[in-house]
Symmetry: D2
Subunit: 338 residues, 4 copies
């Protein structure tokens, strides 16, 4: 019997992760087996491993990881979307194809098995073609971070040239946001607490940068940069009291995408600007398969290169997670192949 | 010289309101003079009079009142939209015709003179035809309370049959919400803290009622009433901590309209359901003229009758305001005519 | 071995339809077996049987029929959406769940086996719960005719109170259109060439009727009925030269749903009103599963009863098809049960 | 009394155009006087002068021209949007600010006086700030040609990276379409009947070109260029039988913008793909002021330079019109200043 390596969590806590030997999976009807080439890590992997998963219920033991690029090596009965040899990406949400998210959709590395393994088995409807123009390491960052930024900006936000968008921080979603907003002709105001990162995000294409340590009232400067009109769209990645600042930075009828929170379990929404500014505040929970296919097409057209901070070998997963926890500029990726 | 009565506030505070004698207005180019028949009162009139106006800057002395029905008695040069004798409604926002609200739009009874007078002069673009099927008293409730409910439900919310909508309280917006949602085939869950009002809102057509005193966790019952699926739309009229309950009542991808707040200057938004429930949270600041014209057409088609709690005579304005402050079931209206 | 009856077409032409004895189907993984209670017939069944199917490719022998209500009698491995005993409807499109129609979606009674049989096997994702408030005969009319009207009016058209909609003819889609538009507070102008049918459609709730024999320039009268403003939405069910009349009936920025054509393979679109009237002309090809679930919820809330012209027994399929070809008032349904 | 030059048409026909001496205009309340710097010509000017105007009723004598850039030299009472010295553009539609076009909106150079004059008087609401980054000649092309392309692509079409758009011909709207689609990351297939123009449109940024003489079934090639999927959006600028080809080039659920017609008064719409392809066919009649403001912001951000074929002096208007009639690559502009 052929075997393969797979990371397994039998008790909560990163120190409990073990690389185990498992039998090679075989595809059932409608399924594909994918040889995993790269897995991109997300904050939610940290929460999942620490047993703070709040979105999806997992029963331990479990395999974490939800963002994957690889190659189809076997197909089950009735599979029509893919053939052996096709390069694919998994979809973060298993079963959300388009429109609204159905209640029975699952999450890879959440309610469903994760992708930190040499081989994974997926229903064929949980995968899309990989972009032609990216390496597997780069492509692995699209299903969660890339799609989240795309869904907020393009699918929900209809970003267009001449708009101004605020990106908070320099995580994977924010940096995809910078690149995608610029690719649609929008201006980008990046806010970060590190002067070094500010320099890098400007090199990536951000039109303006605000150092939040030097300028705690960043929303005032953002508004000035738009000639007093207010910004069109804010990616809210900080949460807490910052949401009020985001509202004050916004133009009449502008948009806030609620994406993440570093600052606790609650955000504070001031009442008056919530009515009179007529904002649309939109919760973003990654996105659907059709939008991921749109993103892949866009990446190939734009020849957009995702920002990868560091690549770790498969057996260095704990080091990769520690890096993510410390903070990265863009994505931390585990190379699985070999 | 002909004179007329007009309420004037020379210092903040309701006890400072005086009914003064003023010269009859005459129309400039593009303007109409309207003989006011009825003025409907809104919470924001209370704030304005108490000098807590937070949305628009007024300089005292000022005349309050923003919701008016009346008859055109004179037209200035170049007026094409109206003729003498036309029954009209004012628009709450002066200068917001359609689409997004332009930055230079004003508010009657806010940055612009109010309508608590026997005669008012308006730019012709700040008025619409009155409905055929309503009395002036009834019609006066449409420009602010009626339009707010219509804008949230129909213009932004695209309400349709089979949906479930939550209406909080029994103020004017909430009761219009009950009637309009029912007229589009939606179910309505009304929440209120008074058993007597609960009975009346059920008689008005609400499908279900929840007494918030008896059932503080109203969101649990609301969700049960939808078979666990969650409600489609919540009119957030309470604010504060209640916004978190509204989010928990909501289905995946549902909608919250932020309309009012009784509970302070800040609302609390829990982080996790804000991402994972993918809500659209939409600030509503009344609405535009085109939507008011749509509402007038709808009212005539539906033969919908606004809920008027009590009608006061023109010189009883202070009593009318006191009633509004105590709480009303529907609208408090001042009859001006005579 | 248990057997069942199933209509089979081995050569094109209705006279070649045969009721054959077949083995009972058994469910594969993810599949359900449904005991069919009623099948509603559509024009496209006539085209399919006459081998004029233009939308989907079928290889004869084939079983026609795409609109079905029945009861789940067996479930395959891994089925989670349904249990034995559940009353269900098939979806016209197999594989279109929400959003845009994926290229690999099939049609029951088209590229996929039809439902004119005592039992059918479906993937569990191709069915939805039946409404509580309808008989199987009534419910069988929802997946194609009902959903087409709902998709055009509600999902795409966001119909609301005070609008005016034109319905052409008295087929199944047009009558659902009358009922659904009225249930959302819209006015309905029905056009038909039969005085008797005009009377019946007015009794069903249409606000106005136009006899197209007596009034060939129906669009002039329709426009007058809106006070010269123009109608908001036209269901284009006639095609050919009529599309030009529909455009002339329309208000600025109005909507035409292209649904069917009785008048040949081409429609004529006059150029000038196509630019200056800024119409949205929207092709409707039934709709997706999520919208069918919304429709089921709406039907139960509204207690809307579909208009069934005549019910035929299972072995009377040829007579039912002949009735449909002659023209019906609403739907022709085949009762399968027993 | 100061005088100025103004082109006047006293009888239909370009040979009847006369450059007349007129009194300098003065601003009424709410009005501005603009010293015209440049006027961009449009096909509709040709129709208007030939008395084939079909959209707006003019009474001769009249001044043609609807696309203008200039500088405010005087302001009337109550003007707040502009000051003396501001560089402005006229809006093609006078009175369409946002949302839907109101029935009483007029057209400069149509129902309202045109702009082919040294000075024009406009209501302040009929103008917007000019872009910072363009000359007056370049800026004059935005109000009609530029806005038409923007409205179809961005305001209605929500163009985004990775899409494929078809542009027909090399007139002003088509070339703006090429530039704007590329600026949002979309691919552009340009079709034209001239090999020389094909080369130029590729140099402008079109991704692919199809010579319609060499390839009459351009839609087949367009579809192949998308890997069989079909294009996302077609600018229909030819009309007639070409609309059927545009439909066949389109992906499921794609969009056709009806913008112009060179081929007669009627377009032919094949029935079957109109239902089954679920296209959205959208009539475009220029656009509103808010979108023009958005376009100005985009032009400044992108530093987009409109394609001007030839600039004519003010007294060379007849030669400029003749050039337009022969066909131009981009815009023909009359420089008025001096």
């Amino acid at each position: 019997m052929q075997t393969m390596g797979q990371w397994v969590l039998r008790e909560a806590g990163a120190h409990n992760l073990r690389l185990e030997e498992k039998p090679m999976p075989t595809p059932g009807a409608g399924e594909i087996v994918v040889r995993v080439a790269a897995v991109s890590l997300n904050y939610r992997d940290l929460w999942f491993i620490a047993d703070e998963q709040t979105d999806t219920s997992a029963t331990l033991p479990a395999t974490p990881g939800s963002d994957m690029a690889g190659t189809v090596v076997a197909t089950g009965a009735g599979v029509t979307r893919f053939s052996e040899g096709d390069d694919v990406l998994g979809t973060f949400w298993a079963g959300w194809v388009d429109g609204e998210c159905p209640p029975d959709a699952g999450v890879l590395g959440g309610s469903l098995p994760g992708v930190l393994a040499h081989y994974v088995v997926l229903h064929e409807s949980w995968a899309v073609r990989a972009p032609r123009t990216l390496s597997a390491v780069e492509a692995s960052t699209l299903p969660c971070a890339g799609l989240t930024a795309w869904f907020a900006l393009v699918e929900k936000g209809a970003v267009h040239a001449g708009q101004t968008v605020v990106m908070q921080g320099t995580g994977g979603v924010a940096l995809f946001g910078v690149q995608l907003a610029r690719a649609h002709g929008a201006q980008v105001i990046a806010t970060t607490s590190s002067a070094a990162k500010l320099q890098r995000v400007l090199e990536l294409g951000a039109t303006h940068g605000i150092d939040r340590h030097a300028t705690p009232d960043w929303e005032r400067v953002a508004r000035e940069l738009t000639g007093g009109r207010g910004v069109d769209h804010v990616f809210e990645l900080a949460g807490g009291e910052n949401l009020g600042a985001s509202l004050r930075a916004l133009r009449q009828g502008g948009r806030i995408s609620l994406i993440g929170t570093l600052d606790g379990y609650s955000m504070s929404l001031p009442s008056i600007p919530s009515f009179l500014g007529r904002p649309t505040i939109q919760g973003i929970g990654v996105g659907h398969r059709r939008a991921l296919e749109d993103l892949v097409r866009a990446v190939d057209t734009l020849e957009l290169k995702p920002v990868v901070d560091t690549v770790y070998a498969f057996d260095q997963l704990p080091a990769a997670l520690a890096h993510l926890e410390r903070g990265a500029f863009g994505k931390v990726v585990v190379s699985v192949g070999g």
